[in-house]
């Protein structure tokens, strides 16, 4: 909580599974950002043992679907004037566009490059997504 209060206005991505923080940072491209970013690894968490925390001192557009895909356990807190004004619990998105790429060589997306890559969640427990075009199933377990 002390740490959260240390930013005035921005976004805190909390309860990130330990080790996944770096993936989120890479995905958001904030490693090259000009604003202040604090990245805490292996913080102790009552709920999960260890967690990562990312604090961004800026209002940025976060792709919640992509974030949910990387780590559905994380929460996104919006901070204004040192207080949390909104708390978003992430979950696995039902539909993702242009995040997962179909690996099936027989899929039309292998030749039709402008077609959007669309995947739908078919199995929450096993984190399995199905290609909209060829029905191939991929699991997006965090690697």
């Amino acid at each position: 909580m002390v740490l959260v209060n240390s930013i005035a206005k921005g976004i805190v991505i909390d309860h990130v599974s330990a080790g996944r923080g770096i993936k989120i940072i890479n995905h958001l491209g904030i490693d090259k950002a000009e604003y202040t970013v604090a990245f805490i690894m292996n913080a102790s968490s009552n709920k999960y043992g260890k967690k990562d925390i990312i604090k961004i001192e800026n209002e940025i557009d976060v792709d919640l679907a992509a974030l949910g895909l990387i780590d559905p356990q994380a929460t996104v807190n919006i901070i204004e004037s040192h207080v949390i004004t909104r708390k978003i619990n992430l979950k696995l998105p039902e539909k993702v566009v242009n995040i997962i790429t179909c690996k099936n060589p027989r899929c039309v997306t292998s030749v039709e490059k402008n077609a959007p890559q669309i995947f739908r969640l078919v199995d929450k427990e096993n984190r399995e997504y199905q290609c909209e075009y060829c029905d191939d199933i991929v699991d997006v377990k965090g690697e």
Partner: protein, 306 residues
């Protein structure tokens, strides 16, 4: 309402929508002359990115018998217009002239890309090893017409269940009817893909068994759906040679079956049904092609709303 819709996968239509198509097909079968001009002034585009004379003839015959006209290509290599052009651009251009399109493509999901880029109805006439819904409609109409219903049947599918698109479509469609049991007959290497087992059979709670022996399955079947092992789906000649003649239905094996078991085959056949079976009253595979044209006539009418 089916007007303006696409047919991309066998499950795109509800059971009652399918019943409407079958009812119209049965009307056409009884009095085809009443329908000889209903599509006058309408144009069907046949976009065949891989050749399939049988399927293309069936669609073209259907459109001509409804009084409509046909344009199209049957091999993209012969057509400079299509060479290198995206599916999205091709369908947008074709939609300027045609009222309805039929697409066959070697890549899975290609007709869906077309459908996402036009409001003109698009019919999937086979996309790689994936889906072939009009073959499924043909199979369903044939079974319904002969058996009187699509419920409470034990259906055996035999041969290449891994790459065979017609069997995947048929399984998905039949799994929606009550009391359907599947017996999946194939060699270990050609068993149904995982998504059929998981997403279709298990999820719908349909009873199914997977066996290697055709003789074991024959006595309990109401329908035997034979398929051929397609050479072009194999990367390696040896596997193809080893598996192509694994199942051959002959007069001797037919003795093991019920006297009212139906034998179906999407055609063309190679060796998997011996010609001696053709005269068996349980062989329905040649009648199937006729039902195929009638069901396509009904489908075109429904999608055009004529």
């Amino acid at each position: 309402m089916l007007k303006g819709r696409h047919l991309l996968e066998p499950l795109d239509f509800s059971i009652s929508e399918l019943d409407d198509v079958f009812a119209l097909a049965e009307e056409i079968i009884i009095q085809p002359e009443l329908f000889a001009r209903v599509c006058s002034g309408k144009l069907l585009a046949t976009l065949f990115y891989e050749p399939s004379t049988r399927t293309r003839f069936s669609f073209e015959a259907a459109m001509y018998k409804l009084g409509g006209q046909v344009i199209g290509f049957s091999e993209p290599n012969s057509s400079s217009v299509v060479k290198g052009e995206s599916i999205a651009d091709t369908i947008r251009t074709v939609a300027c002239y045609a009222d309805i399109a039929v697409m066959r493509h070697p890549k899975e999901g290609a007709p869906k890309v077309a459908a996402y880029n036009t409001s003109m109805p698009v019919i999937n006439a086979g996309d790689g090893g994936h889906q072939h819904p009009t073959q499924t409609l043909t199979d369903l109409l044939t079974i319904k017409s002969i058996k009187g219903s699509l419920n409470n049947l034990t259906v055996g599918l035999c041969g290449d269940l891994k790459f065979g698109r017609t069997t995947h479509s048929l399984i998905e469609a039949l799994a929606r009817y009550e009391g359907i049991r599947f017996v999946l007959i194939s060699p270990e290497e050609l068993r149904v893909p995982d998504y059929i087992r998981k997403e279709v059979l298990t999820k719908k709670g349909r009873s199914f068994t997977e066996v290697e022996s055709m003789e074991e399955a024959l006595p309990i079947l109401d329908i035997l759906y034979m398929t051929r092992v397609q050479k072009e789906r194999f990367f390696n000649e040896e596997d193809y040679v080893r598996l192509k003649d694994r199942y051959i239905l002959d007069a001797e094996k037919m003795k093991l079956a019920h006297e009212d078991m139906m034998v179906l085959h999407p055609l063309p056949r190679v060796n998997e049904i011996a010609v001696e079976v053709d005269n068996d009253p349980r062989a329905f595979y040649f009648q199937q092609a006729k039902y195929g044209m009638f069901v396509r006539m009904a489908l075109i009418m429904k999608l055009l709303g004529v």
